[in-house]
């Protein structure tokens, strides 16, 4: 709070880095497009090859936007969970949020064929997936919070979250066992995670959900800071704990649920980005931490997407694997180098 100027300048540097990465992300891929042509495509001036315009506008730009939204959103939900549970291991993935979303989507994709009829057509709509996924993660988070009210022990809550993840995973397994190959494949591809399948309209829908989630998170900034002292102190500072908990749950579900629905379950970003940011910015005020985590999430996701695209090659790797492959060693390296686990 005293060195605000220094922190703001780090935020600006992160912002500039993000802009550079966006250009790099759009430029690299199976076909490399010069930066000049990216701008020409966007501003509708002459492009050196007409296919570039199509690739940039209809494929890479929406993909870059999706990466930014998904990375930021998951990173924020990780931060919210970590502060709310006062536990450095919390995140949408660890608490079973993503598993809940998977269950929702699995029921819609694979369960629909079991019921059959007009339900199958409905299941293919992205909207249905968003709703199913959000309901799935909301359900799991609700169960975790219900348990947290009774338990009050953060480690126990995490275990409950992991148990729910196992439970939902088991239900998905049973559903998979009875599903025809085509539906199974559709579900498995969804679970690999993908940033590139979204139309502009779908990017818009995702953006609206995440905008609502981020707005709620911003609204909670002050209470999140109070929670750094623990719930008893926060209450003594005038925080309405149950109301605040509800807001954070809704924000996290909107973010993690909608992102998981559109992009599949993306591991690691939610857990790791808040820690990476705390290593760069030794600060706890969520007023600085939140924008930093938004930038950090977007940056890490863009980097992962560039790697997943395997520049110059014809095929892409599943983004869900890349986030962990890149992120985990980075966090381990940072922790070992700094010798201090800041939380």
């Amino acid at each position: 709070m005293q060195h605000t100027g220094k922190y703001v300048s780090i935020l600006v540097i992160l912002g500039l880095f993000l802009v550079a990465l966006i250009l790099l992300n759009i430029s690299l891929g199976s076909v490399n497009i010069p930066v000049k042509d990216i701008f020409s495509s966007i501003f509708n001036t002459e492009v050196s090859k007409e296919t570039y315009r199509y690739i940039v506008l209809d494929y890479r730009l929406p993909k870059a936007f999706t990466a930014i939204i998904a990375g930021s959103g998951l990173a924020i939900s990780g931060l919210l969970m970590q502060t709310m549970f006062r536990n450095p291991l919390a995140g949408p993935y660890v608490l079973g949020l993503s598993s809940g979303a998977s269950l929702g989507v699995a029921i819609v994709i694979m369960g629909a064929t079991l019921i059959g009829g007009s339900f199958v057509a409905l299941a293919l709509s992205k909207w249905t997936l968003v709703i199913a996924s959000s309901l799935g993660s909301l359900m799991v988070l609700f169960a975790v919070v219900l348990a947290s009210v009774r338990l009050r022990d953060t480690m126990a809550i995490l275990i409950v979250g992991l148990m729910f993840a196992s439970l939902t995973g088991a239900v998905v397994s049973i559903l998979s066992y009875f599903s025809p190959a085509a539906q199974l494949q559709q579900y498995i591809f969804w679970s690999f995670g993908s940033l590139g399948d979204l139309s502009w309209a779908e990017v818009g829908i995702l953006a609206i959900f995440c905008f609502l989630g981020i707005s709620l998170a911003i609204f909670c900034i002050k209470n999140l800071n109070s929670l750094l002292l623990g719930e008893e102190y926060a209450r003594s500072l005038g925080v309405n704990i149950s109301q605040n908990r509800m807001l954070i749950i809704i924000a996290t579900s909107l973010l993690a649920g909608s992102i998981t629905a559109f992009c599949g379950p993306i591991a690691f970003i939610g857990l790791a980005v808040p820690h990476l940011i705390r290593q760069i910015l030794p600060i706890n005020n969520h007023l600085i931490l939140l924008p930093a985590v938004i930038l950090g999430g977007a940056i890490l996701m863009l980097i992962c997407d560039i790697v997943a695209q395997l520049p110059g090659m014809e095929f892409t790797l599943p983004i869900n694997a890349i986030t962990s492959l890149i992120g985990a060693p980075v966090v381990i390296w940072l922790l070992i180098r700094k010798q201090k686990f800041l939380f």
């Binding site: 709070m1 900034i221 102190y233 500072l237 005020n285």
Partner: protein
Amino acid sequence: MKSNAENITLKTSNLEIGYQDKKGVKSIAEKIDLEVHKSELIAVIGVNGIGKSTLLRTISGIQQALSGAVEIEGKNLNALNDLQRASQIGLVLTNQPISKNLSVFELIALGRQPYTNWLGKLSKIDIEKIENAIKLTSIESLKDRKCYELSDGQLQRVLIARAIAQDTPIIILDEPTTHLDMYHKAYVVKLLKKLAKQTNKTIIFASHEINLAIQICDKIILMHPKKTQIDTPENLISSGAFQDLFPKDLIHFDEISGAFRIKNED
């Protein structure tokens, strides 16, 4: 002046404390009538499990009373909303999951939360109050340290500074001297005494440091299975109230020295 009704900051009448759950009501203590005044330092004394923490939690509004009333500056505690209560009572608690990554300044600044805007931005007045709290607790040299670098005694002073910055007429501390060595126990209680006098606040703390409390505190709330009473240490000594605080087989209260002694006969 101290008996002046205008100086009463906290008053309980016919208060009954305890827990209520599905299995029923568990009353811990009843008929508690207390009146405490401005700039008084008050210790809550009693054996383990007698309900010191429950009493403190009840008068600070964390826990509901089973019956009876708590009044803060003439207003019923239940009539205050979360924010109003936060500007009346500051707490110092032990064993909370505080983020040790907070700097001392950041932690103390969180005491200003009830007064800052929706984003928690500190105004000039907020900064002044924080600096003043730092000065009052003599922790200027710790200001930029991280909490994980502090000793238990230093952290306790920082937590007290945070409560001072919250700028409430009443500060309640739950066993602020546990985990501290003898010197730091005395240091913290002396500090509380100084703060009560300099800032006119009412400071109430639960403690097992009876000998220390008798020497320093203005009043003592003595919790006993039969009754809870408040009085000056001198009056409590002369009325013999300390005599049956503990079972007499091991320790007894020596009225001449005003301290508890261990029996050595056998």
